[in-house]
């Protein structure tokens, strides 16, 4: 039976296809690689090279209900016969991997990996980043812990089938697309100003859209605060009860732990500044190069925010510190190295601690926003 019979959808109203990562891997992808039939053909095969992200919604529609995410199987196509790189270019652009792959567990067992990709319009390396995100799931390739993932079998690592989830990023912050495109702060302000209760409840626990502007500003500012004189600046950001930031203390005293698991509550780039700095392994060849670019980036973030943020009074950090380290480098000369080094940055062990800190931080900082739900 397929998804629609005689034009009528087999999916009754009110039902969403919203599989867990475990279901995607353990049910759907496993069946796919084993050539088993899947009911309703919910997840279709797609040739990723021939399908633009904006056509995916029509192609991968399930039922008549509105969808926020779309699913398909894709067979990975190698870019070069000898290599392992995958060709993910379409006519209009290409999918580019970002970050590092995430391990997917089921009952404490590794069952697969998730790769996050972003769609860029145009051709590498001049593509323009879009809001289309793809999570590409593959079954575990049996690397380190063979005894753990025996059940998955060896055949799967040869087979190039992956199952993908495509969605459009919410709360985008395209600071670099144009100088006037204001930062996320403004967008969040906008979204919170039309804060109907409906919206708040709807997104509650799913995103931070409902955050009040105060909290947003607090969040951003704390990340903007440079801390160049410490080894790991990020981890030593001013504590919540910092005397220099008296306005925060009220906010933070009644934080409650489990508000929303926030996604977008900060300007993440500044974290990386600290990561870079704190990792001694990169001091030799990349540190200086990174600094110049990061400085400019940070400064541009700050400028945008300075223009758009009403509560500058809270911002007790002058722009001055951002210029301090630029004199050391002639940054324009080193961009090729910078490109490669920024990729390698992902794999540093520091990332992990940053990640944990981010979570802790955003969890606690994103709470107090809504007086109704303390």
């Amino acid at each position: 039976m397929s998804l629609s019979v005689n034009g009528q959808s087999q999916v009754p109203p009110g039902f969403r296809f919203h599989p867990t990562e475990e279901e995607l891997l353990h049910y759907y992808l496993k069946k796919k690689v084993a050539y088993e039939k899947i009911d309703l053909d919910v997840i279709r095969d797609v040739d990723l090279n021939k399908l633009e992200p904006w056509d995916i919604q029509e192609r991968c529609k399930i039922g008549s209900t509105p969808q926020n995410d779309w699913y398909f199987f894709s067979h990975k196509d190698k870019k070069y016969p000898t290599g392992t790189r995958t060709n993910r270019a379409t006519t209009a652009g290409f999918w580019k991997a970002t970050g590092r792959d995430k391990v997917i567990y089921s009952n404490f067992k590794r069952i697969g990996m998730r790769k996050t990709l972003v769609f860029y319009r145009g051709r590498a390396p001049h593509g323009q980043k879009s809001d289309w995100i793809m999570h590409e799931y593959r079954l575990d390739d049996n690397t380190a812990d063979t005894n753990v993932s025996n059940s998955i079998g060896e055949a799967t690592q040869e087979d190039g089938w992956v199952v993908c989830r495509v969605f459009k990023k919410k709360n985008h912050h395209k600071t670099n697309d144009s100088p006037n495109n204001s930062s996320k702060t403004t967008q969040m302000l906008n979204s919170s100003s039309d804060g109907a209760l409906d919206q708040i409840l709807q997104y509650m626990g799913r995103s931070c859209k409902q955050e009040s502007e105060t909290v947003n500003n607090v969040t951003n500012m704390r990340f903007l605060r440079p801390n160049y004189d410490t080894i790991n600046g990020f981890m030593q950001l001013p504590a919540l009860e910092s005397p220099t930031l008296p306005s925060y203390s009220n906010e933070c005293n009644h934080l409650d732990q489990e508000m929303c698991s926030s996604q977008d509550c900060y300007q993440p780039i500044h974290v990386i500044t600290d990561t870079t700095q704190s990792n001694p392994g990169y001091h030799n060849e990349t540190d200086l190069n990174d600094w110049g670019t990061l400085d400019r980036l940070v400064a541009s973030h700050l400028n945008v925010q300075a223009e758009t943020t009403k509560q500058l009074a809270c911002l007790n950090v002058p722009t001055l510190p951002y210029g301090t380290s630029t004199q050391e480098v002639d940054d324009d000369l080193h961009f090729p190295q910078l490109r490669s080094s920024s990729t390698r940055l992902y794999y540093t062990s520091q990332d992990y601690s940053s990640e944990i800190d981010l979570w802790n931080f955003t969890r606690s900082s994103s709470s107090s926003s809504d007086p109704l739900y303390k």
């Binding site: 109203p13 919203h18 580019k96 995430k102 799913r206 300007q267 979570w359």
Partner: protein
């Protein structure tokens, strides 16, 4: 929770996850008009039974984002161990091309001693339900008459915390959102964007 997909032979990954409009149009309106409801037709009618929200497990229909049941509008929703208090104004839950069809009310659950809980209720009601379509079939079939103006459809869920099973709208770990770390990486990618043109 909410694996009622078996009832309609849907493969794994489907959940009863109706949006407001679907609730009003496909369920509330059809119930009021005594029209057959497509799957799931097992949203129970709890009438005005004052169940505490944590007691709904065996009584209400479990969806991906809350418990669902029909009920009646009452002035005070008092249960054995607490009461529901309306939050703010009603909002339009579903509107046709020109007119509003349904309204949505928000309520929070307080325990008897006045402590606010994380339990939230969305109460949907029909607006301007035309009695012409409702009274006739219900009379002719002899089904117990439901006053469509009092009929409501409730969605109850627990805001945060607790087990994932009981929490509604809590699916950020399913990968439809970017994690904080993903956002960091995305911004890192911007470094490339900046550095290239100046090369």
């Amino acid at each position: 929770m909410g694996d009622n997909s078996n009832a309609v032979n849907l493969p794994p990954g489907f959940q009863f996850y109706p949006n407001d409009e679907e609730l009003v149009v496909h369920f509330l309106h059809r119930k009021a008009a005594c029209l057959p409801i497509r799957h799931p037709n097992n949203i129970p009618d709890l009438d005005i039974s004052p169940y505490d929200p944590w007691d709904l497990e065996d009584k209400a229909l479990a969806g991906g984002n809350g418990w669902y049941f029909f009920s009646r509008r009452v002035k005070d929703r008092v249960t054995a161990n607490g009461y529901w208090i309306p939050l703010g104004e009603e909002s339009v839950a579903a509107s046709g091309t020109s007119k509003k069809v349904g309204m949505k009310k928000y309520l929070a659950f307080y325990t008897g001693d006045g402590v606010e809980t994380n339990w939230i209720m969305h109460e949907f009601r029909l607006l301007n339900f035309s009695s012409s379509s409702s009274t006739r079939p219900s009379k002719s079939r002899g089904t117990p008459k439901i006053d469509p103006r009092r009929l409501v459809l409730c969605r109850i869920f627990e805001k945060y915390g607790g087990s994932k099973g009981s929490g509604a709208c809590n699916d950020d770990e399913d990968g439809t959102e970017l994690s904080c770390l993903d956002e960091v990486f995305l911004s890192l990618d911007d470094l490339d964007e900046i550095s290239l043109p100046s090369r």
